[in-house]
């Protein structure tokens, strides 16, 4: 336990080299970024190398300081032609909140019919993004 804490203290403010692969285009440039941790606990990117275009540098800075992701999942739906309704975030959310968002998605329960883009969860986890339906789900026709 003690060793772990010491380790954190030692690396907290030190400059670190972080390796990542750029995903902006199929080139897949191997990027190398010099970073340091600031006093308020966030990561600061000092320099980026290995990129072959400006988009690579922008990607590395975003990915290392505030990575975001679109999240997709399904929610339970009653009366639809399938038992699950596919949903998507209306905007990218911080990567570290993915599992919190999934938790909310798992709690949701809706009834058919649903139109594409209908809001299923408003302002999910207070992240300024909604969970919206990513397809129209018609009512299941009763068996003849």
């Amino acid at each position: 336990m003690d060793a772990k804490i010491t380790d954190q203290i030692n690396t907290d403010n030190a400059a670190k080299t972080r390796e990542l692969i750029c995903i902006v285009c199929p080139m897949g440039c191997h990027l190398s970024a010099q970073t340091e941790n600031t006093a308020d606990g966030t990561c600061r990117v000092l320099s980026v190398s290995g990129n072959t275009c400006p988009r690579g540098e922008r990607y590395a800075r975003e990915e290392l300081t505030a990575p975001t992701r679109m999240v997709t999942g399904t929610v339970t739906i009653d009366g639809g032609i399938y038992p699950r309704l596919p949903v998507i975030t209306s905007a990218p959310i911080p990567r570290e909140r993915i599992f919190d968002v999934m938790e909310e998605i798992h709690q949701a329960h809706v009834c058919a019919p649903v139109q594409i883009h209908d809001i299923i969860i408003q302002n999910v986890c207070g992240l300024d993004a909604d969970i919206v339906a990513s397809r129209t789900m018609p009512l299941k026709e009763p068996a003849q």
Binding site: I21, I23, P26, T74, I81, P86, I88, R135
Partner: protein, 427 residues
């Protein structure tokens, strides 16, 4: 026997695009035969986003992408018969299908577009040793269970194959509460998009074992564990490198095969590499009046390209029905050094379009190379490619003026960048 002008077999992204294009070219009598309960095909279970960047300039989920086309099919009044299973087609374009609504139906089609898509290679296709317990699924089957039916097929999961479906399912299973212990890939490089490696594996700290394969499956009723081994340069397992994982589920993402049972029955010539029909520049197969597009023709990695191919097949079908198309393409288009295939495989030299786009795939990853075109053995064009990956289909567009007068062959090949990089050929 009922007669129809245009029958499209398959209502996925390829079939819907073909129908839309044919209708816009004035074909009124169109019938889509769809095996599922609605149009959309495999997109309906691909709930992740990233579809449509080329077609719509935005990233949609699979169901959203499909819905845009299903809406157009409805708005254009194109007839779709769902739950319709085509049982047979012959070389005279006679089609036999069954559906709960119509029963057993025989149709006489003047023109057919094949858009049946592809299937996943199962365990039997790669011969994994071990017992035969429950808990072994193709990644796509698992995707259907999770995303459409709402079942989680396992709690502790290992995935063989780093194709995009395998990577997508690694993330999907993780988000639904399963533990994914790793992904093994036979090749020394991944077959998935780097974006998926990052967002599906790295984000969730799922290890990727390159140059590894599954060498044993154990379990009586249900999978209890699997063993992976490192492989040598000849892809043979190396003794002593075994690692065991206690899992209840093994997902396979080990390749896709175009679904051409019907094409074979109709006597359509198939290509040994693509496993899809041999086609000319109109996407017409070796049986006149039968066209092919999408994953039944060759396996695609981007749905946008499937849509584009579907449009082309639909337009060609309309041409065939209204003005006729030349038969018996005479000039072969072949894959040279470094390429696994080129499409189309034949062209009509006397009916060249203003531009001809060839699709191809490399055999192995390449860096800083030229994609070169030879006409009758002479180099006519080469374009620089900083990176070429087997996972990503390449396209090259030729102008009519560049290939006019071709008599013997067109050949695509990979050249090292140092060769022939003169300004007039490199672009």
């Amino acid at each position: 026997m009922k007669k129809r002008d245009l029958v499209i077999i398959g209502g996925g992204s390829a079939g819907m695009a073909a129908a839309i294009a044919a209708r816009k070219k004035g074909i009124q009598d169109i019938l889509i035969l769809e095996r599922g309960s609605e149009t959309g095909g495999i997109l309906l279970q691909c709930i992740h986003n990233g579809f449509g960047l080329h077609t719509f300039g935005e990233e949609l989920s699979g169901p959203s992408y499909a819905e845009r086309f299903s809406d157009q099919i409805r708005d254009l009044g194109i007839e779709v018969e769902t739950d319709a299973l085509v049982l047979h087609m012959d070389s005279e374009r006679k089609i036999i299908y069954t559906s709960p609504r119509s029963g057993f139906v025989t149709l006489d089609a003047r023109c057919v577009v094949l858009a049946m898509g592809c299937r996943e290679r199962p365990r039997g296709a790669i011969g994994i040793p071990g017992t035969r317990p429950a808990g072994i699924w193709t990644a796509g089957a698992a995707q259907r269970y999770v995303n459409l039916d709402g079942f989680l097929p396992g709690r502790r999961v290992f995935i063989l194959g780093s194709g995009d479906i395998g990577l997508i399912m690694a993330r999907r299973m993780t988000l639904e509460g399963a533990q994914v212990l790793g992904v093994a890939e036979l090749m020394p490089y991944s077959n998935g998009l780097s974006r998926n490696l990052k967002q599906c594996l790295e984000d969730f700290h799922i290890p990727l074992y390159l140059s590894h394969t599954v060498t044993d499956i154990r379990g009586h009723h249900r999978v209890s564990s699997i063993t992976i081994s490192e492989v040598d340069d000849n892809r043979r397992p190396i003794a002593g490198t075994e690692k065991a994982f206690d899992v209840d589920t093994l997902l396979l993402s080990v390749g896709l095969l175009p679904e051409n049972t019907l094409s074979e029955e109709a006597g359509i010539e198939l290509h040994p590499r693509t496993r899809g029909p041999v086609v000319d520049q109109f996407l017409q197969t070796t049986v006149p009046g039968v066209f092919a597009c999408g994953n039944v023709l060759h396996v695609h990695d981007l749905v946008d390209f499937v849509t584009a191919e579907g449009y082309m097949a639909g337009e060609s079908a309309a041409h065939y029905l209204t003005a006729g198309l030349p038969q018996r393409a005479s000039v072969p288009v072949t894959a040279g050094e470094g390429l696994s295939y080129v499409l189309p495989q034949r062209i009509h030299p006397d009916a060249l379009p203003d531009t001809l786009t060839l699709s191809c795939r490399v055999l192995a990853p390449q860096r800083n190379v030229l994609l070169a075109v030879e006409k009758d053995g002479k180099l006519i064009k080469s374009v620089r490619r900083p990176v070429m990956l087997p996972a990503e289909m390449e396209k090259i567009t030729l102008k009519k003026t560049e290939i006019e007068g071709v008599r013997e062959s067109l050949r695509l090949r990979i050249l090292p960048q140092s060769v022939c990089a003169s300004p007039d050929t490199a672009k």
